[in-house]
């Protein structure tokens, strides 16, 4: 059993490790026979060549970071109050509205891309990072609101009442009791907002048209389609590594929250 697991682990890990290791190989060694996993010489020339791709990799990396941070900020700022509102208040039409929010999860954004394109044009947000952030936020919301509602639901009423009786103000209540207890939920929301906005491909491909607005996944396509039909495989390895390493690091750091979110979102 252990042997089977080790063989499978190699299959799952190898492509990632191989690409990462290859990104530091000098060009001469990359094509050498037989295939070597680790390089004899450590070289950053692949990363350096990535600066000549379009606007340069750091522009694309910056765009990706800005989009991820923007999506995280909007999603948290909108979903946390919404989760609180759905959890701790009763108002007319609440169930209906909640069902409507959840329905967003059932209908994929791929099926409304064409009108989204027109709406962004109308808002003068086409070919802008902000436009993309707004779209990513919208499709991040149902899961995030669901997550935050559950997080606030899990806080017992008695705890809130006890704090009240002890004379806590609303602000103290939120800051000292509600937020700390809802924080794992927020971590889950942040993690999913990051991964989904960082990795999103189709909307970024459609809505961004200027070289200097592209994100990392779009840069990869540009590299892999090659200049004059010739693909710079070394630079591609470097680009792939830049794109995937942040996801892996984030996942390893927040693994617990990821699995929690996965099961909560799924079991719904």
């Amino acid at each position: 059993m252990l042997l089977a697991m080790i063989i499978l682990a190699v299959f799952f890990l190898m492509p990632i490790i191989w690409s990462f290791a290859n990104s530091f190989k000098p060009a001469a060694e990359a094509l050498a026979h037989p295939v070597a996993l680790f390089s004899k010489a450590f070289s950053l020339e692949n990363y350096r060549r990535l600066e000549n791709v379009g606007a340069g990799w750091y522009v694309y990396a910056t765009n990706s970071v800005l989009i991820a941070l923007g999506t995280i900020a909007f999603t948290v700022a909108v979903a946390v109050p919404a989760g609180y509102g759905f959890s701790k208040f009763r108002f007319p039409g609440q169930t209906l509205i909640f069902v409507l929010v959840m329905a967003t999860m059932m209908i994929p954004f791929q099926s409304i891309l064409t009108p989204l394109f027109l709406i962004l044009k109308f808002l003068h947000l086409q070919n802008s990072l902000l436009g993309l952030v707004l779209i990513y936020t919208t499709f991040q919301l149902p899961f995030s609101i669901f997550m935050m509602r559950n997080a606030f639901d899990a806080i017992p009423k008695a705890l809130v009442e006890a704090a009240r009786i002890d004379g806590a103000s609303q602000w103290t209540l939120v800051r000292r009791i509600l937020m700390p207890l809802a924080l794992p939920g927020v971590a889950t929301v942040v993690m999913f907002a990051f991964l989904n906005s960082w990795n999103e491909f189709l909307a970024a491909l459609i809505f961004l048209s200027d070289q200097n607005k592209f994100t990392l996944p779009i840069m990869l396509v540009n590299v892999s389609s090659g200049i004059y039909g010739i693909i710079d495989w070394g630079a591609l390895q470097a680009g792939i590594s830049l794109t995937m390493i942040p996801c892996i690091v984030m996942f390893l750091a927040l693994q617990r929250y990821y699995v929690r979110g996965l099961t909560a979102g799924a079991v719904k």
């Binding site: 089977a4 509102g85 967003t104 791929q110 099926s111 394109f117 499709f139 960082w198 892999s224 892996i248």
Partner: protein
């Protein structure tokens, strides 16, 4: 001053009470997003599908003409058919890998956590990066697979899988299984772990073999998580785009153009926004139909069947 303070106090006291128009204020921002960038576009999709709607120039109401064209569009039928074929094959392959994986990592060993993490790792990489990564792995000149095969003397010529249909499809399926099996594994693992231990223990004492324990007890009890994994995989496969755009680029001979790829080409390559909307709506109907059939299976409890 006094009144203001009194009102403030009341608001503070009342905000957690079950009468809350304030609650509406808390959810209002989310409504702005969902109405503006989800509900309105959704309605627009249907509306636009009745128009000839170029990016530039005048749009014209043409009734059901887009739908009539859609029915006779052989490229569309081919791409929808291909998407269904891909969905069936890839979902089967993912389940066939993920179920053994889940059983493998469902044991109280210390090292099991490490393996779960490793099997799950490719899930967090985006489809864009994963597709370009496999494009390199499979490249006949610089890719690892080709050089390993020729290096070991297994083949004389490096294989060029992307040049014909079935090898290209097989390659895509292999990549997607690698990328997403860990996700399905976690869903199935949740199902496995919700089965009470004493049920299986009781069967063991009654002398049931491991295989019949799995078939008669484990599998029926994890039915809902199997169905859930199926729904999620079917839905995402029906929407596949990135891997075909990046790895096969729709080829060879347009044989691997998926449904979303067709919508992309109609709306954003030919700029026929009305026709693109009709295609989107058709895909949406198919998706909702498939999901609701699967959901209705899920609603039936396993006990009802017997």
């Amino acid at each position: 001053m006094f009144l203001k303070r009194a009102l403030q106090k009341r608001r503070q006291a009342g905000s957690d009470e079950p009468h809350g128009w304030l609650g509406l204020a808390f959810i209002a921002p989310s409504m702005v997003f969902i109405i503006g960038l989800f509900i309105i576009p959704l309605v627009m999709t249907v509306w636009m599908s009745f128009f000839r709607w170029p990016l530039l120039g005048r749009r014209k109401f043409i009734g059901l003409e887009n739908y009539a064209e859609l029915l006779g569009d052989s490229q569309l039928w081919q791409s929808f058919g291909f998407t269904l074929l891909y969905t069936v094959l890839v979902t089967t392959a993912i389940m066939a890998v993920a179920l053994p994986l889940a059983l493998l990592v469902d044991r109280p060993l210390r090292s099991v956590g490490f393996f779960r993490t490793v099997f799950f790792m490719p899930v967090v990489i985006g489809f864009g990066a994963a597709s370009t990564l496999w494009l390199w792995l499979l490249n006949p000149d610089s890719g690892v697979f080709a050089r390993l095969l020729t290096g070991l003397g297994l083949v004389d010529q490096a294989p060029r899988p992307l040049e014909s249909f079935w090898p290209a499809l097989a390659v895509i399926i292999l990549m997607v299984v690698w990328k997403t099996a860990g996700f399905t594994m976690v869903i199935l693992l949740t199902g496995l772990q919700s089965i009470p231990n004493d049920v299986i223990e009781a069967a063991r004492i009654d002398g049931a073999s491991p295989f019949s324990r799995f078939r008669r007890i484990t599998l029926p009890l994890m039915r809902n998580s199997v169905l859930l994994a199926l729904i999620l995989n079917v839905t995402s496969s029906m929407l596949a785009f990135d891997q075909f755009f990046i790895i096969t680029q729709g080829g060879p001979n347009n044989s691997t153009i998926s449904a979303v790829f067709t919508i992309y080409l109609a709306s954003f390559s030919s700029y026929r926004l009305g026709y693109g909307s009709a295609l989107s709506f058709a895909l949406l109907v198919v998706l909702v139909a498939i999901s609701s059939i699967q959901l209705s299976f899920m609603r039936q409890r396993p006990e009802d069947g017997r």
